[in-house]
C-alpha cells in the first residue's frame, strides 16, 4: 500500500522529458550549407570528352552560392548517370541530402541533349527531371539553367546562375590607363569587352531587357551618356549637354533614363530623359549635388543622393515630379542608392566609423544592416532574385568584386578581369 502511494506521488512529480511515455527533446539548428552530390555526367558522343564538364559547372554554381556543400568525387560510392541506377542507401551513407545525376548525349554534328535528375536522398524520391537540347555554344547557358532549377527546387529561391554582370576595368597603359567596359557570366566566365577607351568609362546600367547598356564616357574630355546595344555593338549618344552628363539608370519600362545633368554652372540635378525623343524633364532644382538617381521597381519613385542637408544622404522623389523626401537618417554619409528588384530593400554606400561600406536598409522596418567589411567599398548592385549583392572592394591597390547574400552572411570573391575592377552591375533575368 505504501509502495503504491509512493509511486503515484513520484508519477505526479515527474518533470519534463517524460510525458505520455515519450521522450520530448528540443533541437536547435543553425543554417549550414546543405551537403549534396553532383555526380559526373555520362557522355555519349564523338570524342572522349563532352563539350563542357556540366557537373563541374553545376557544382561550382551551387558551391559559390554558399548554400550548398557538394562532396568530392572521391567520396562517392557510386557514380550513376541515370536515375534508375541511384542507390539511396549509398548516398545516405555519405550523408548527402540530394543527388544530381545526368548525361550529355550527342544527337547531331553540333546538337546535344543534356539530361539531369535531382533526387531527395532521405525521402527516396525524384524531385526534378529535365531534358534540354543544346549546341556547343549554348551548352554553358543550358547548364546554368539546370543549376538554377536545382537551386530553386532545393531552396525556394530563384537561381541567378544564368545571369550576367557588367563592370569597368582600368589597366595601366604607358602614361595613362586603358578603360574597358566588360560583360561576363556571373561566374566570371565568357568575358566580352563591350567598349574600350583611354578616357574614363563610368556608371554602366543594364536595360530591363538585358540587351543594352547605358554608360558615361569621357571621350573628348567631356562626359557624355551613351546607350549601346550589346549584340551589335551599335551605340548612340543620348546626352552630351554642356557640363556634367552622368549617372544614367533605366526606367522599368526601358523607355527612359534618369540622368544627372550639371549644366554650365555645374549645379548637378536629377533629370528624366526620354530615350527616343531625347527630351528631358527636370526633377530637382536645389543647388546641392543631386545625383546617382535610380528607379524604384514599381516605377513610381526615383531615389537619389543629395547633400542638401550637408553631407550625402538618400532621398526619393515621385517620378512624375514633386518634393524630395529624405530616406536615410543613420550615419553622416549615405550615397549611391540601389533598390532590390522585389522593392523591399535599399542598398547604399554608408560611412561606418570612417569606413565606406555597403549597407542594406529594409524599406519597411527601416533598419540598416552593414553587409560588407572593407574600407572603401562601393557600387552595390542587387542580383535579380534580390537575394545577393555584388559590389566593388579593394585588395591592396586594386579594386576587386565581391558578392554577399542580402543578410550579410555569405560572402564570395568573384573572379574577374585583371587590373583595377570597379562599378559592377548585375543584369536582370534574361528574357528569351
Amino acid at each position: 500500500m505504501l509502495k503504491k502511494l509512493r509511486i503515484s506521488i513520484v508519477t505526479l512529480a515527474l518533470l519534463g522529458g517524460y510525458a505520455n511515455a515519450e521522450l520530448v527533446i528540443d533541437v536547435q539548428g543553425v543554417a549550414q550549407p546543405t551537403p549534396v552530390a553532383i555526380v559526373p555526367f555520362g557522355w555519349e558522343g564523338s570524342g572522349p570528352d563532352m563539350p563542357l564538364d556540366v557537373a563541374a559547372v553545376i557544382n561550382s554554381d551551387l558551391k559559390r552560392s554558399g548554400r550548398f556543400a557538394p562532396i568530392g568525387e572521391d567520396k562517392m560510392l557510386q557514380k550513376p548517370t541515370n536515375g534508375a541506377d541511384v542507390d539511396f542507401d549509398d548516398w545516405g551513407f555519405v550523408d548527402v541530402e540530394a543527388v544530381v545525376v545526368g548525361s550529355v548525349v550527342q544527337t547531331g554534328d553540333n546538337a546535344y541533349t543534356l539530361q539531369f535528375q535531382l533526387f531527395d536522398v532521405f525521402g527516396r524520391r525524384q524531385l526534378l527531371g529535365y531534358r534540354m537540347p543544346a549546341s556547343r555554344g549554348t551548352m554553358r547557358g543550358a547548364t546554368h539553367r539546370a543549376a538554377d532549377m536545382i537551386y530553386e527546387k532545393l531552396t525556394g529561391i530563384k537561381g541567378v546562375f544564368g545571369t550576367k554582370v557588367a563592370y569597368v576595368t582600368a589597366v595601366r597603359q604607358g602614361q595613362g590607363r586603358l578603360y574597358s567596359l566588360i560583360v561576363s557570366d556571373q561566374d566570371g566566365e565568357n568575358e566580352h569587352t563591350v567598349m574600350e577607351s583611354t578616357d574614363p568609362i563610368m556608371s554602366p546600367a543594364w536595360s530591363p531587357d538585358s540587351r543594352q547598356l547605358a554608360y558615361v564616357s569621357f571621350e573628348g574630355n567631356k562626359s557624355s551618356i551613351f546607350v549601346q546595344t550589346l549584340r551589335t555593338g551599335n551605340r548612340f549618344k543620348v546626352s552630351s549637354k554642356p557640363g556634367i552628363n552622368g549617372a544614367p539608370a533605366f526606367s522599368p519600362d526601358g523607355r527612359q533614363l534618369v540622368v544627372t545633368l550639371g549644366g554650365v554652372d555645374g549645379n548637378l540635378d536629377i533629370h528624366v530623359l526620354d530615350i527616343t525623343s531625347r527630351q528631358t524633364r527636370r526633377l530637382t532644382t536645389h543647388r546641392a549635388i543631386d545625383t546617382e538617381g535610380t528607379w524604384s521597381p514599381d516605377g513610381r519613385h526615383i531615389y537619389f543622393t543629395s547633400d542638401r542637408a550637408g553631407g550625402p544622404q538618400v532621398y526619393r522623389v515621385p517620378a512624375k515630379g514633386g518634393s524630395p523626401e529624405r530616406i536615410t537618417f543613420e550615419g553622416s554619409y549615405n550615397a549611391r542608392p540601389r533598390l532590390s528588384p522585389d522593392g523591399s530593400r535599399l542598398a547604399m554606400v554608408h560611412n561606418d566609423r570612417g569606413n565606406y561600406r555597403i549597407a542594406v536598409m529594409d524599406l519597411e522596418k527601416k533598419n540598416l544592416l552593414v553587409v560588407s567589411t572593407g574600407r572603401q567599398d562601393e557600387s552595390p548592385s542587387f542580383a535579380p532574385n534580390s537575394d545577393i549583392l555584388i559590389y566593388a572592394t579593394r585588395q591592396g591597390r586594386n579594386g576587386v568584386l565581391e558578392t554577399v547574400s542580402a543578410d550579410g552572411l555569405i560572402r564570395q570573391r568573384m573572379a574577374s578581369g585583371s587590373g583595377d575592377v570597379r562599378e559592377p552591375v548585375w543584369s536582370p533575368f534574361p528574357r528569351f
Binding site: I244, V349, S379
Partner: protein, 172 residues
Amino acid sequence: MSYFKLVAVGLLAALLAGCSGSPSIPDPEPTDTTYGDSGASTGGMDDGGLGDGEFIDDPSAGELGMVIYFDFDSSEVRSQDQDLVSRHATQVSDNMRVRIRLEGHADERGSREYNIGLGERRSQAVRQMLMIQGVSASQISTVSFGEERPASFGSSESDYAQNRRVEIKYTN
C-alpha cells in the same frame, strides 16, 4: 567573319597605322593621359603632410602653376591660391581667343558619381573666381573627373591631398 568585314577592318587598321603611335588622336601635347606633369612640381612636395602644405610652383620652369589643391570636403579656393587664380584670370581675359578648361577632381573616398559632383564644385569655384575677375564665361569650360583620374594612386592622406585638385588646361 565575312570577307567584307575583314577587308573593312584591314583598311581601317592600315589607315590607323599611319597615325601616330599613341592610341588616341594625334596631338602635339597629349596632356589627357599624363598626370602631374602639368607644370606644378609635385616633386617639390614631401609627404610630410598637408597641414601646412603649400604647393610651390617650380620657379625654374618660369611658368604659371596649373593645379590648384583643395582641403578635405571643401571646394573653396584657399587663400594661398588666390593669387595664382588671379594671374590666370589676367592671362585669359587679356586675349579673347584664349580658351581654358578647368578639370575638377576628388579623392577616391566614397561614391564615384557623387565625387564627380565634388570635382565639379571645385572647377566651378575656380570658374566663378575667374569670371569675377573679368574672364568671359565663353572662354571657360569645366569638366569633372571625380576620382577617375587620380594624380596619385595610393590610399594615404597625402595621396588624397594630391588628388583633390583642379587642373587648368589651355585648349588653344
